[in-house]
């Protein structure tokens, strides 16, 4: 099955639309995210695991195998870190509840740490990070009111739950046990975050963990299932051709 790229219609209100991403001398228009994986029947295709991240057909592809998974995680951590950095630096942040400020400030630090860890680790591990390291992505937050605590918390819940299900689904794609442990070290903190922001929205409820199914299992999602959520926020064009 051919890999197909899904594009998203340009949001005319978006100034970052006009931003351009320079990678290895190429200048790419950011025309909307395309985190488009192979179709499901490509899950077991043997040849994808050694595909390194980098430009293909003028667009950055996350690659396959362990580097692909780590680059995918790096993209998600960039998103979370960018969001919370905007939150804590917004003029309205000081008007949030003390509890919300405490939690969101911690989340901002944790996500920046995750992002910078992946950047450093990938830079170390990739054969040619100059062309293979995912560049800094650009983001937009349509519908998010950064002046509104409830709007920010709702978005935080979406991002944290997405992170949990993304890492849960990516674990089986990892072949290096050290990377698997690191993913595990991060996903449980994302789940702690998700629990806290969910309870913040609805204290005393079962929201903190009512994501689990009848077996008591949290969701696990493939990269291609995470795409629609991430698509709301990431404006830089890239592909995930070699991830399921």
């Amino acid at each position: 099955m051919e890999n197909r790229v899904i594009t998203k219609d340009e949001n005319p209100t978006l100034t970052s639309r006009r931003n351009f991403l320079k990678i290895s001398g190429l200048t790419l228009a950011g025309t909307g995210l395309l985190l488009a994986g192979c179709n499901n029947d490509d899950d077991n295709s043997g040849g994808s695991s050694n595909q390194l991240p980098g430009i293909r057909n003028g667009v950055f592809d996350l690659g396959g195998g362990d580097f692909g998974v780590l680059t995918y995680a790096y993209a998600l951590e960039q998103l979370e870190a960018d969001f919370y950095t905007k939150v804590v630096n917004d003029a309205a942040f000081s008007s949030f509840s003390e509890q919300a400020k405490d939690i969101l400030s911690d989340l901002q630090k944790h996500e920046v740490i995750h992002r910078e860890f992946f950047k450093a680790a990938l830079t170390d591990a990739l054969p040619n990070p100059t062309t293979q390291l995912l560049p800094a992505l650009a983001f937009t937050y349509p519908g998010v009111n950064f002046s509104s605590q409830s709007s920010v918390i709702d978005t935080a819940i979406a991002l944290e739950d997405t992170g949990v299900s993304a890492y849960n689904g990516a674990g089986k794609l990892i072949t290096n046990p050290d990377y698997l442990v690191i993913a595990g070290q991060i996903v449980s903190v994302e789940a702690r975050h998700a629990s806290a922001v969910r309870d913040l929205r609805n204290p005393g409820s079962t929201d903190f963990a009512n994501t689990a199914d009848a077996n008591g299992l949290d969701p696990a999602k493939k990269p291609s299932e995470i795409a629609p959520v991430a698509q709301q926020f990431i404006t830089t064009q890239f592909t995930a051709t070699y991830l399921p």
Partner: protein, 259 residues
């Protein structure tokens, strides 16, 4: 022999900050002084304690089957703990009932899920141990809500670390994803219980949040900043990652509550 069981009883924990709860907690010994005296007995006199050690669990093999066996034993522990708590009249305040009941249900779900999966794959099901939620140190979690939350926190944070520690044994197994899906639910529980105790949902350095020193082992190593990428400070770097524990450490912690 599990030396951790012989560690001296804690004396300055905030759980015992009030005279009433301190005294209540040692009521089985008749009075506080007697409790402390017992706790300070040398190892050779340990037979005087009410704990029997013969039934301690032992480390599971470093295999996928072993990982599931350890996981099931830890889920037995949590499931029995929360089931007893929910059935203890007057223990759980009304505002916490929904949350604790959900956690109870999840732990029962995990026992059921793991048992079914293991049976379907011919993996031996470990017997359910006999639990002593006093921890051998006079805890009374079904009459003292602060102590209940403290033990719950220790169990949840242990579960998070233990599943992570077993993940490598599950690589290539059909159970890896399911184990990760349980792992993140345990982390959600841990965050909630911690916040009910007035703690952050995440672990700062190796701070146990005032738990007895006997369970400090749950937090040892959490202070790691190895993946901190030089950002912010050590506290934030340690919070940003949960750490693993070995099979042996998980077994040692469980054995504190097994007779």
């Amino acid at each position: 022999m599990n030396l951790i069981k012989f560690l001296e009883s804690f004396t300055d924990d905030k759980l015992y900050a009030t005279g009433t709860s301190r005294r209540n907690s040692f009521s089985q010994f008749g009075n506080l002084g007697k409790g402390l005296a017992l706790a300070s007995l040398p190892f050779g006199l340990s037979a005087l304690s009410n704990k029997a050690f013969a039934a301690d669990i032992t480390p599971t093999p470093a295999t996928a089957a072993g990982a599931l066996q350890l996981a099931l034993t830890l889920e037995y522990l949590e499931s029995a703990f929360y089931a007893t708590a929910v059935d203890s009249a007057g223990l759980i305040p009304a505002e916490d009932q929904a949350a604790i009941t959900l956690i109870r249900d999840h732990e029962a779900d995990h026992v059921s899920f793991l048992t079914t999966a293991m049976e379907a794959n011919g993996i031996a099901i470990p017997a359910m141990p006999t639990f002593d939620f006093s921890g051998g140190i006079g805890l009374d979690p079904f009459n003292n809500y602060d102590q209940f939350l403290a033990v719950a926190q220790a169990f949840e944070d242990t579960g998070v670390r233990a599943y992570k520690g077993q993940a490598g044994y599950l690589m290539g197994s059909d159970f890896l994803t399911a184990a990760l899906q349980i792992h993140s639910v345990e982390a959600r529980h841990a965050s909630q219980i911690r916040r009910m105790r007035g703690q952050k949902g995440w672990i700062t350095l190796n701070n146990s949040g005032g738990l007895p020193p006997q369970v400090q082992v749950v937090y040892d190593g959490e202070e790691s900043t190895a993946l901190g990428a030089g950002q912010f400070d050590a506290a934030a770097q340690s919070e940003a990652y949960d750490e693993t524990i070995s099979t042996q450490t998980a077994v040692n912690i469980a054995n504190l509550f097994i007779v």
